[in-house]
């Protein structure tokens, strides 16, 4: 395994001391109209930590993830991510988006661009990387995710597993410090699921900070440093896999796990 996080140029690191957690959520609330989606989320995610968020559907797992890079704005509380406070300030938003990559359930590749262009677009446009450098890096990343031969394909020609690998490479091309993954394997067939999960495991081993919403509990047990059990917009329980699977403290966690395992 070679280094995913190898930079082709010096990353502009924000003034975040090494010991500061990658993500700090303090009493985060979010309403959709009168629906109270997030009800006081408080948690810290350390740098290099891999956290799996799980819970019943409607428990606002995705909402939490989308608040972390401000695809949705939260209504009260503080979110500090990679050293930047998320608020209404535009330059903070830009800074966060540069630090935080996101992978979606349905990939959301750009259908009018080739794999190469999908990966190199943001580095060129946002980080003003030279085209040659961006393309060299795209090829390098595609080699890492195991599909360098697909570089000139269009998304329409890819299978689900291949598309998700491209989406991961696209997110990594921005050299994010935190990677958010919203049910990255839910739209894939069983065979592709294993491949993508293995890839995520490798990323985790390399020290990428990741927050993953997933229902793959086997993967969570193996790869996660910590699990967050969410229900009705609240963190019910949080702890290492041994605790969550072996000795859950909360009745609700126990009930949910007994339903899905």
């Amino acid at each position: 395994m070679t280094d995913f996080t190898a930079t082709t140029e010096g990353t502009a690191t924000p003034a975040a001391p090494e010991q500061e957690p990658a993500i700090i959520c303090n009493d985060v609330h979010k309403w959709y109209g009168r629906f109270h989606a997030l009800r006081g989320i408080t948690t810290e995610i350390a740098q290099g930590e891999t956290v799996v968020v799980f819970g019943p559907s409607g428990s606002a797992k995705s909402t939490l993830l989308r608040c972390l890079n401000r695809l949705e704005g939260h209504d009260s509380g503080d979110i500090r991510i990679a050293g930047v406070t998320l608020d209404h300030q535009v330059h903070n938003l830009a800074a966060v988006r540069r630090q935080v990559g996101m992978v979606f359930q349905h990939f959301h590749l750009f259908p009018h661009l080739t794999v190469r262009q999908n990966i190199t677009l943001a580095p060129q446009v946002v980080r003003h990387m030279a085209k040659m450098d961006a393309e060299a890096r795209a090829l390098h990343l595609l080699e890492q995710v195991g599909i360098p031969n697909l570089i000139d394909m269009y998304p329409a020609d890819l299978s689900g597993g291949q598309a998700q690998r491209v989406a991961i490479a696209r997110a990594l091309a921005m050299e994010p410090r935190v990677l958010l993954l919203d049910e990255p394997t839910s739209a894939l067939d069983p065979e592709s699921i294993r491949g993508v999960l293995t890839l995520l495991g490798e990323l985790s081993d390399l020290g990428m900070t990741m927050v993953i919403v997933t229902h793959e509990m086997g993967f969570a047990r193996e790869v996660a440093d910590r699990l967050l059990f969410l229900e009705e917009g609240q963190v019910v329980e949080s702890g290492p896999p041994e605790q969550i699977f072996g000795d859950p403290q909360e009745e609700r966690t126990r009930r949910f796990l007994s339903q899905i395992l």
């Binding site: 988006r97 996101m102 979606f104 959301h108 750009f110 080739t114 943001a122 946002v126 329409a156 997110a171």
Partner: protein, 407 residues
């Protein structure tokens, strides 16, 4: 490959093709006694209609009226000896057509055959021997440009450049045409006419309307209320006005509204009419593009913003290219419609091709020959619209994001 549900080999010998055709006819037209009767009746009616039309076209019709008036139809009252101002534009349009077609795909055999057939029907009468001598090299160049562009587009690296080149070429063609009409004394706009005037007005209106329409579409989908409202008002007003009203306003009333800076109120009627067309068409283009924008899944915007693209970047690189691709059929429809409606400029006293055609029927030598002239003019419009429509279908396919596996 299948046609109408029947399997067909792509490369057939003539004999196989005939067998396929016979097989098709047996299955589709003569499968039962009832079908035999209906098919025979319909075929007879169609055949008779085609025969009588062909007989009229080749025996009764007198195409002399077209031959005698071809200059009037093509350029109106454009002064003699000033043709050099027009030929370069005609050349660049013909060559660009070939280049564009080659860069964005290939021409299908049916379309190529149709264009050649129509050209063979129209060109000898239209251009005459003297004209053919000038047009023939342009056509040869167009064929050459087609093959060259097609060849270049095979390499994915050069394809993009060849395509950008074609688009830039089209946007350069009109300024070139206009400059040529003005330099070295120039020909005053009131003397521009015929088919050339239709082209100038239509392409000027398209070039003006496209950016304006895209801007309006963005404004209508903007989160700023003021922008949204003003764009909506603009679109609704423009769509509600009949075009002749717009044209008459441009003719009579514009100088009453417009300030007179820099002689703005002295602008030639042709320009004012073109601006009116552009303003009018922009409203329809805005709606087509807005439809395209609305059809883009929300995930595209989210993925782009998650990558850090700002609004204008995600618009320019992600949503707008997809929106334009999605609305291409509608846009092509607008452009063809625009080209047809440029015949309305007769309302304000300009002599476009249709008006020139009407004028010929008043010549004593050609009384009662409207049929020929109108049919001929119709054919010219049809060929242009057909080429535009097929070309846009090619663009659509080229932009569909289907890749290397399926070319």
């Amino acid at each position: 490959m299948t046609v109408a549900g029947l399997p067909l080999k792509v490369d057939r010998t003539p004999r196989e093709a005939l067998e396929d055709a016979w097989h098709w006819a047996r299955q589709r037209l003569f499968s039962s006694p009832g079908n035999v009767v209906v098919s025979a009746l319909l075929l007879a009616i169609l055949g008779w209609a085609a025969f009588s039309f062909a007989r009229w076209m080749f025996t009764d019709a007198d195409w002399g009226v077209v031959r005698a008036n071809r200059r009037l139809l093509l350029v109106g009252r454009f002064p003699l000896g000033e043709e050099w101002r027009i030929w370069p534009a005609v050349y660049s349009i013909i060559v660009l057509l070939g280049w564009t077609w080659g860069a964005w795909g290939r021409i299908s055999r049916t379309v190529a055959a149709t264009l050649v057939l129509m050209g063979a029907l129209v060109l000898p009468t239209l251009a005459g021997w003297s004209g053919l001598r000038v047009v023939a090299p342009a056509l040869a160049l167009a064929v050459l440009a087609y093959f060259l562009a097609h060849r270049l587009a095979e390499s994915p690296r050069i394809r993009g450049k060849a395509r950008v080149g074609s688009v830039v070429g089209w946007f350069m063609a009109l300024p070139l045409a206009l400059i040529l009409l003005q330099v070295r004394g120039g020909v005053e706009p009131a003397l521009w006419g015929g088919l050339y005037l239709n082209f100038v007005v239509a392409s000027g209106a398209i070039i003006g309307a496209l950016p304006l329409g895209i801007g309006l579409a963005l404004a209508r989908t903007s989160s700023f209320r003021a922008l949204r409202v003003s764009a909506t008002v603009y679109v609704e007003v423009m769509r509600g006005l009949p075009l002749p009203v717009m044209l008459t306003l441009a003719w009579l009333a514009l100088r009453a509204f417009l300030p007179s800076w820099g002689g703005l109120d002295e602008v030639a009627l042709v320009y004012r009419v073109t601006i009116a067309f552009a303003l009018f068409t922009a409203a329809f283009i805005a709606e087509a593009v807005r439809g395209g924008l609305n059809s883009i899944p929300r995930g595209q915007r989210e993925a782009a913003s998650a990558l850090g693209l700002k609004w204008w970047q995600l618009t320019a690189y992600v949503t707008m290219p997809q929106a334009v691709r999605n609305s291409l059929p509608a846009l092509a429809g607008e452009f063809i419609g625009l080209f047809m409606t440029t015949t309305l400029i007769a309302v304000v006293g300009l002599t476009d091709m249709l008006q020139a055609a009407r004028a010929t029927t008043e010549q004593p030598a050609f009384f009662g020959r409207q049929k020929e002239v109108l049919l001929f003019v119709g054919m010219l419009f049809w060929v242009t619209a057909f080429a535009l429509s097929r070309l846009s279908a090619r663009l659509e396919r080229a932009l569909a994001g289907k890749g290397t596996r399926r070319v």
